[in-house]
C-alpha cells in the first residue's frame, strides 16, 4: 500500500516530483544557512550544553518533515487529479475523482467530475445517435436496394424486353429479400386459361422440377394457392402462422418452411401468384417484407398486362409495314367475312394467291434491300390493279393475295392474269435476267373450292404449288 502510494507520488509525476525535491532542498538549505547565521558558534557550548547542533538539526528536520507533509497534501490530490484526468482522456468516462476537500483542489476535482459526466452523457447521446443513424442507413440501403430492383424490372418493361426475361428477373429479385432461397411464378395460361407453375428460381428449382412441380394442378378457390390467388393481398406463412392441412401440403409441395405469397393482379384481373420461400422455420415476415413482395408482384402484373396489350395490338394491326397492303391475319379474318356475305347474297367470292417466282434466289444474289424494293414495287402493282371492293394483301414473305368479293373464277382469273402480266412487264427491262421477276398465281372460289376461308387458302396453296412446278409465270385455278 505504502509502496503504491510512493510509486504514485514519485514515479507517476516525475516532473512535479523533481520540482518538489528542488523546492524542499532549497528550503532546507535556506533553513540551515539561516540557523548558521543565527548561531555562528554552534560547535561551542551553550547554556552548559556542550553542543546545540543536534538540537538544531532536529528542529530543522522537524520543519522539513512538516513542510514535506504539507507539500504532499497539496501535491497528492493534484497528482491524483492528473492521473484520473489522463485515464478520462483515454476514454474511461466512468471514472470519478474522489476528493473530500473544500479547497481549490476539491473544486478542481468536482469541476473535472462534472465535466466528465457531461462528456459521458454527450458521448452516450452520440452513441445513441450513431446507433439510430446506423439503423436509418440500413433502412435507406434496404430501400435503395428495393428501388433499384424495381427500377431494373421497370427498365426491362420499358425496353419491351421479352416477357420471359422480365419474369425471370422478377423471380430472381425475390431471392435478394427476406432471406428467401426459393421463388416461383404461377401464371394463367392464356390459351387454356388454367393456372400453371410458370418458372422456378433458387436453390431447389432442379429438385422441384424433377418432382413434377410444373404439372401441379391449381384450381381457383381450392388449396392454399387457389385461395391466395383470389385474395389480392400478400399472405405470409412464418413461425407465427397457425398450421393447417393446406399449409402443410403447401410446404411439402414446395419444400419450404416459410413463405410469402403475393397475388399478381392488375385492375381486378388475376394473372397469377408470386411465391418466395425459405427453409428458416423461425422466420418472421415483417411488414417491410410484405411491401417488397407486393411491389415486385405489381411489377410483374404490369409486365404481363403490357404483354397482353402488345398481343392485342398485334392482332389489331391490319397492314404489312413494308408494302402497306393488308397482312395475313387481317386477310384470313376478312376472307371469312366476305364468304359469309357472299353466301347471304348468293354470290361467289374468290381468293387469289400469288408467289414471286425464284424470289429467294433473287434475295440471295441481290441482297435484302433490293428484295425489299422489289416487294414494294410488286405491292404497288397489286394496289393499282384492284377495285375498291377488292382487298390485296402481303400474305407471306414473298406471297401476295387478293380477296375478290362477288367475283367468280372466270372474273378472278382475268384480274390475276392482268397482275401477272404487269409484274412480268415491270421487271422485263432489267438487264440481268435474274432480276426479271415473274409471279405464279392460283384462284380458289367459294363455293366451288370450299365454304370457309381456310378451305380456300388451303386449296389455293395446292394449286399455287402446281403452278410453280410448271415453271411459274402463270395463273391456275
Amino acid at each position: 500500500m505504502v509502496k503504491i502510494y510512493f510509486r504514485k507520488l514519485f514515479l507517476s509525476s516525475k516532473k512535479l516530483k523533481n520540482e518538489l525535491r528542488i523546492a524542499l532542498g532549497l528550503i532546507t538549505l535556506i533553513l540551515l544557512v539561516f540557523l548558521g547565521y543565527l548561531f555562528p558558534g554552534l560547535d561551542s557550548s551553550l547554556f552548559g550544553v556542550k553542543s546545540v547542533l543536534p538540537f538544531i538539526a532536529f528542529v530543522a528536520l522537524f520543519i522539513v518533515v512538516i513542510s514535506f507533509l504539507i507539500i504532499i497534501q497539496i501535491v497528492e490530490p493534484v497528482i491524483k487529479i492528473s492521473n484520473e484526468a489522463r485515464l478520462m482522456a483515454g476514454g474511461d468516462w466512468n471514472r470519478v475523482i474522489e476528493l473530500a476537500r473544500e479547497d481549490e483542489i476539491g473544486e478542481l476535482g468536482m469541476a473535472l467530475n462534472q465535466m466528465t459526466r457531461r462528456i459521458k452523457d454527450n458521448v452516450e447521446q452520440l452513441r445513441d445517435f450513431s446507433k439510430q443513424t446506423e439503423s436509418i442507413n440500413l433502412e435507406v440501403n434496404r430501400r435503395i436496394l428495393i428501388l433499384s430492383s424495381l427500377i431494373e424490372i421497370s427498365n426491362l418493361i420499358a425496353q419491351s424486353t421479352d416477357l420471359e426475361v422480365i419474369l425471370k428477373a422478377g423471380a430472381d429479385k425475390c431471392l435478394e429479400f427476406g432471406g428467401m432461397n426459393f421463388s416461383c411464378l404461377i401464371l394463367r395460361d392464356r390459351a387454356t386459361n388454367e393456372f400453371k407453375v410458370h418458372l422456378i428460381s433458387g436453390d431447389k428449382s432442379d429438385q422441384l422440377i424433377e418432382s413434377g412441380i410444373k404439372g401441379l394442378e391449381i384450381k381457383l378457390g381450392k388449396g392454399l394457392i387457389g385461395k391466395t390467388i383470389l385474395k389480392q393481398d400478400v399472405t405470409i406463412i412464418d413461425s407465427k402462422t397457425e398450421s393447417s392441412s393446406e399449409i402443410s401440403e403447401f410446404k411439402k409441395t414446395f419444400l419450404v418452411d416459410s413463405a410469402i405469397l403475393a397475388p399478381i393482379t392488375s385492375k381486378g384481373n388475376v394473372f397469377g401468384l408470386l411465391i418466395a420461400g425459405n427453409n428458416d422455420s423461425h422466420f418472421t415476415g415483417s411488414s417491410a417484407d410484405k411491401e417488397v413482395f407486393y411491389l415486385i408482384s405489381k411489377q410483374i402484373a404490369i409486365a404481363v398486362t403490357n404483354d397482353i396489350l402488345k398481343d392485342e395490338i398485334r392482332k389489331l394491326e391490319v397492314t404489312d409495314h413494308l408494302t402497306g397492303l393488308f397482312n395475313n391475319t387481317f386477310t384470313r379474318k376478312r376472307l371469312n367475312e366476305e364468304i359469309k356475305r357472299a353466301v347471304s347474297l348468293q354470290q361467289p367470292c374468290s381468293f387469289a394467291l400469288f408467289s414471286i417466282d425464284r424470289f429467294e434466289e433473287f434475295r440471295d444474289v441481290f441482297g435484302y434491300i433490293a428484295a425489299e424494293h422489289a416487294l414494294i414495287t410488286i405491292g404497288n402493282v397489286f394496289k393499282e390493279s384492284i377495285s375498291k371492293d377488292e382487298k390485296a394483301a402481303r400474305f407471306g414473305d414473298h406471297e401476295f393475295a387478293l380477296i375478290l368479293s362477288a367475283k367468280n373464277k372466270r372474273e378472278s382469273i382475268k384480274i390475276a392474269e392482268e397482275i401477272r402480266k404487269k409484274i412480268e412487264a415491270g421487271f422485263a427491262k432489267e438487264e440481268d435476267p435474274r432480276k426479271r421477276l415473274t409471279c405464279s398465281g392460283a384462284i380458289a372460289e367459294n363455293p366451288i373450292d370450299g365454304v370457309t376461308a381456310e378451305e380456300l387458302i388451303l386449296k389455293s396453296g395446292v394449286i399455287l404449288a402446281e403452278a410453280m412446278n410448271k415453271g411459274g409465270n402463270g395463273i391456275m385455278h
Binding site: V343, Q346, A406, R410, P447
Partner: protein, 149 residues
Amino acid sequence: MKPYKRATTKHLGELLVERGVIDKEQVSMAVAYQKEKGGLFGEVLVELKFATEEDIAQALTAQYGFPYLPLSSYEIDLKVISAVPEHVCRQFCLIPIDKIGMSLTLAMADPLNVQAVEDVELITSCAVQTFVGTASDIKEAIDKYYKSK
C-alpha cells in the same frame, strides 16, 4: 319443254319494277333489308310481302322466256344431282335437273345470276340451260335429293 339460254344480266328488281309488280321504293327497301339480313333478292321481296314467288317466276318467264318448272312434280335422276356439289347448289339456290350429253339443265331461283351459271359450267364442263323455279321449291328439292344421295 324447251330450255332457253340466258340473254340478260338485268337485275331482278329492275325487271319486277318494269312489270309493275313492285315500285322503286320497294326495291330500295328490299335492297336495304338484304344488306342487313342477307338472302336472295327474290326471297327478300317474298319475305317483305312485296311479291310472291309466283310473281317472280312469272316475271322471269314472261320477260326473258325462262321456262317455269314446278319442281314438286318433277323427279330428278341422282346421277344428275351428283354433277353439282350440294354447297354450290345451296349458295346459288339452284339444282341440276337434267343432263343430256354435255348439256346440263338447271332450275334456278334467279336465272339472271350469270356468275352461278358460269361456275356450274366450269365445274361440269357442260353448257348450261336454265329453268325458273321458286326458291322454296329448290331448297326443298336440295334437301330431298342431296340427303338421299
